[in-house]
């Protein structure tokens, strides 16, 4: 089995690498900094004895993503069973009145690079033996707020893209999944005093890999965020407008 993890150097991406390597998958790891990738690749090779390829690229540049992936596929005969995209992030100044740079960078990182990568990699999916493509959104996209504006918009668009992808691949054996992630114990929640349980990236990664064969379209992770999402959606505008989070 071959898996590709886009956003492999930290957080959920790194944990996914370990879980996949532990079950014997060969890995293609993608991240911005080759130093992080080489360290993670070396660890997976040494501990789990799996083959690892590392590709450095910046998700903020979708054209470069396309270029590097195309060159990689031309040089490699690897077919993929699993594509995972735990990639993205918001900028500190992601407000309604943002600069074009902020908006462009946010959409490139969270949406366009993922769409580009899927488009380039899809022909190399091992359709004969099934497979899975997994996207990662955020509960921030459930309802637009006055912060994380471009980020929430990009993640909501990403969810729409995964719906389209699922629809398109419904005639194939490839399973398309999309997770709306809540708070996870990564840099995202470091030092925040939260009243809700915050799962570790290891727990999330184990859940994602265990679910790879299941057909559910999209879901919230941790699951209790589904209730929060429903409540947030149903919250009358008069109350919602007063929330600051």
């Amino acid at each position: 089995m071959n898996a590709l993890v886009f956003g492999a150097s930290a957080g959920i991406g790194r944990s996914l690498c370990r879980v996949l390597a532990a079950r014997g998958d060969s890995l293609t790891l993608i991240s911005r900094d080759m130093r992080d990738l080489e360290a993670e690749g070396a660890h997976c090779r040494a501990v789990y004895g799996v083959e690892v390829d590392c590709l450095a690229m910046d998700a903020a540049d979708p054209r470069k993503v396309s270029e590097v992936l195309t060159a990689y596929l031309a040089a490699s005969d690897r077919c993929f069973d699993t594509l995972l995209f735990p990639v993205g992030g918001a900028l500190d100044n992601d407000l309604v009145r943002s600069s074009v740079d902020t908006i462009e960078r946010t959409f490139n990182t969270n949406l366009l690079s993922v769409m580009t990568a899927v488009s380039v990699l899809l022909p190399r999916m091992a359709t004969g033996r099934g497979g899975a493509i997994v996207g990662f959104g955020s509960i921030a996209s459930i309802r637009g707020r006055n912060s994380n504006v471009a980020y929430a918009a990009a993640k909501r668009a990403l969810e729409s893209f995964f719906e389209s992808l699922r629809h398109d691949l419904s005639v194939s054996a490839i399973n398309v999944q999309f997770y709306r992630l809540g708070y996870i114990a990564t840099q995202q929640s470091f030092g925040r005093r939260l009243l809700i349980p915050v799962p570790s990236p290891e727990t999330v990664a184990a859940t994602v890999v265990a679910n790879l064969g299941r057909h559910f379209g999209s879901r919230s992770l941790p699951r209790f965020w589904l209730l929060a999402a429903i409540a947030l959606r149903l919250l009358p505008w008069r109350l919602f407008r007063q929330l600051r989070f």
């Binding site: 150097s9 930290a10 918001a90 900028l91 992601d94 030092g191 925040r192 989070f245």
Partner: protein, 453 residues
């Protein structure tokens, strides 16, 4: 609700900082980077200090004016060669996880302290010792080279050949030279899958030194346990544990599990408010412990259980409660050991503090700079932070000064600078090396500030 976007930086947050022995410093600032680009933009101003597992007895990984850079995300094996006997690991790797990796390949690190959750970076920074320092010395002996980061110098390779002075100041330098990024460690074949433990009685304090020396010559591990709650003529009564490697039929190394390695932290240790140790409960527990061990006599344990005994006794530390405990671990020259024990007895008698643990081991290793090493007997005392405890620590400082011993800096969160200056002849040399390497003194903790480093 969104991840931080600037991947080069790591968010800062303030937490209540408490050393493992219970010294509460209030709120300190922490960061937990998970990418190498973090170091590219680390400012060369302000104060920082690296943090590993956060289990040092002294406040070596935080300070009220410093940002603690938690290295736990850098926990990977970077290179491994069984033929060369070298493993290269990042500084945040835990001892127990490395043990699990190496043991399945028939290898191990001969020098490692008793808790698997400790980080490799922390072990290097404190130049820790294991069960058999008289044979294997300290952690320094198994470091081939290491990679250090300092904003002024960038990433630097250190070894006994490359930047030897900074290398020696980093191993046992308590983080004052920079952030240890990774290390190449020399691994050894596991001699046998088990350790046969033989227990012999020690009648009183006078017997400790001769018995340790006698056993040290022909045993792979040797340490002693003593009851110091009775300052009468049987003060120091206890037993000697002599370990020899033996092969176990069908032995498997499970090693410490990840969940076990997360059980103990400075916060969780202090979670229970009340200290259960007092004069009477300690007497009773020591009596029961000694009887149990004596009745057990000879037994065989797997190597991982011998190397990481604290995984079975976390409750011992929790029972000190919120206020914590003191450990006074000192290295005493062999010729002065009897006088030291006499002084310890008088000091305990005067302070009236319940001694929950007293343990000795033969020591070796290098004694330069601020390293806790050299020939002699290492003797440790534990007691709760109760009335009289601070006076007892002070009396022990004076006693040690008289006899020419040295206290273990990493085991004592109140050790005064004057005691360290007097006990470590190379204190000023260490200080000048560190100041030459880091003139702005960027890397500082409560420990380095307290010791005037």
């Amino acid at each position: 609700m969104s991840p931080s976007s600037d991947k080069s930086r790591a968010p800062q947050s303030s937490f209540r900082a408490i050393s493992f022995d219970g010294n509460d410093l209030g709120r300190c600032t922490f960061q937990r980077p998970d990418r190498y680009s973090f170091f590219d933009c680390m400012p060369a101003t302000g104060c920082v200090i690296a943090r590993g597992a956060g289990l040092s007895y002294a406040a070596a990984s935080f300070g009220t004016n410093s940002v603690s850079v938690q290295m736990t995300s850098f926990d990977r094996i970077l290179r491994f060669s069984a033929e060369d006997g070298i493993v290269e690991v990042e500084a945040g790797m835990r001892l127990g996880e490395l043990f699990n990796f190496l043991a399945t390949r028939g290898l191990y690190l001969p020098v490692q302290p008793g808790y698997g959750a400790l980080s490799i970076g922390g072990c290097i920074a404190a130049d820790v010792h294991g069960k058999n320092p008289h044979r294997n010395g300290t952690f320094l002996n198994q470091i081939e080279s290491l990679r250090l980061f300092h904003p002024r110098h960038g990433f630097v390779e250190l070894s006994s050949d490359r930047n030897p002075e900074v290398f020696r100041a980093t191993c046992g330098g308590y983080g004052s030279t920079g952030i240890i990024i990774s290390a190449r460690l020399i691994v050894s074949p596991i001699p046998a899958s088990g350790v046969a433990l033989e227990i012999t009685s020690v009648a009183d304090a006078d017997e400790i030194a001769p018995q340790l020396v006698g056993a040290g010559n022909h045993c792979d591990f040797v340490y002693s346990w003593h009851d110091c709650t009775n300052p009468g003529k049987h003060f120091g009564r206890g037993y000697l544990v002599k370990g020899r490697f033996v092969d176990l039929p069908a032995a498997t190394f499970t090693g410490p599990r990840r969940s076990q390695m997360r059980r103990l932290s400075a916060d969780s240790r202090a979670a229970h408010g009340v200290c259960i140790y007092n004069r009477w409960s300690t007497k009773l527990m020591n009596l029961a412990h000694e009887r149990m061990r004596r009745n057990g006599r000879a037994k065989v344990q797997t190597l991982d259980r011998v190397l990481f005994p604290i995984h079975a006794s976390e409750i011992y530390f929790r029972a000190f409660g919120k206020h914590g405990f003191h450990e006074y671990q000192a290295l005493i020259p062999m010729k002065s050991f009897d006088r030291y024990m006499l002084g310890v007895r008088n000091a305990i008698l005067k302070a009236g503090v319940p001694i929950t643990l007293a343990s000795g081991k033969l020591f070796g290793g290098n004694a330069d700079l601020l390293r806790f090493g050299g020939d002699g007997i290492c003797f440790a005392l534990n007691f709760p932070r109760v009335r009289g405890a601070t006076d007892l620590m002070h009396d022990l400082d004076l006693l040690l000064g008289e006899l020419g011993g040295r206290p273990n800096i990493i085991k004592d969160s109140r050790l005064p600078r004057s005691t360290v200056e007097a006990a470590y002849p190379e204190y000023f040399r260490f200080r000048s090396i560190v100041h030459a390497w880091d003139p702005d003194r960027l890397f500082r903790s409560e420990l380095t500030d307290r010791l005037g480093l």
